[in-house]
């Protein structure tokens, strides 16, 4: 009983997160300017991280946690590099 509650609510949470990813993807494809696309990409990274965490709870394995940490690190570096590119026109000067 309690197992069923947890697994169904995890499934519902994953569906909601997938819908959130679709919304961020819409903004990234549609976004009128470059900074909108970068913002949507950052949101997409965060939602993918959360989706991996819920998958880890669902399968009760620790591997997804490592992946989530990797996504968090790479997302931060990528967004900072893109923002710097918007500001200066080049990443490393």
């Amino acid at each position: 009983m309690s197992e069923a509650i947890l697994s169904w609510s995890l499934l519902a949470a994953q569906l909601m997160l997938a819908l959130a990813m679709l919304m961020a993807l819409y903004r990234m494809v549609r976004g009128p300017r470059a900074q909108d696309r970068i913002l949507a990409l950052d949101a997409l990274y965060v939602v993918a991280l959360l989706l991996l965490i819920t998958q880890g709870v669902r399968t009760a394995s620790h591997i997804y946690f490592e992946l989530a940490m990797l996504i968090g690190l790479l997302g931060f570096v990528g967004t900072v590099a893109l923002a710097k590119f918007l500001m200066r026109g080049e990443v490393i000067e």
Partner: protein, 128 residues
């Protein structure tokens, strides 16, 4: 999955559902709001409260099933709550810079177009 007591699984379900709903609301704001400066505030709901609740669910679940305190989720949460303001501030500064540059270019173009009839109202590049 280990056998959890009923109250514990209800608590975990409430946490994960609320976190996912907040993240969904943040991404909905991303497509609903009008200007970039408004949109910039929307996804922070997902990174602060939504991410916090989902990571709390994971920490509680693994602490219970493994019988010891599992805390690496706190590291992800701390990292996320430190890095999100940094990235958004950099992005906002870049956007302000681009907008200002565009305004200056427009003003210069107007001045050069109407230079023979009337003097330019705005002196070009007066600030910065």
């Amino acid at each position: 999955m280990a056998d959890l007591p009923l109250w514990f699984s209800v608590l975990l379900s409430a946490c994960v559902l609320l976190g996912a709903a907040l993240t969904l609301a943040g991404c909905f704001g991303l497509i609903r709001l009008d200007s970039f400066y408004l949109r910039m505030h929307a996804p922070t709901m997902g990174t602060s409260m939504g991410g916090g609740l989902i990571l709390l669910t994971s920490a509680l679940f693994f602490s219970f099933t493994e019988g010891r305190v599992v805390l690496p989720e706190i590291a992800i949460f701390a990292f996320m709550s430190i890095t999100t303001p940094i990235t958004l501030m950099l992005l906002a500064r870049a956007t302000l810079f681009r907008d200002r540059l565009q305004q200056q270019l427009d003003a210069k173009e107007d001045a050069s177009l109407g230079s023979d009839s009337n003097p330019p109202a705005v002196p070009p590049a007066a600030d910065r």
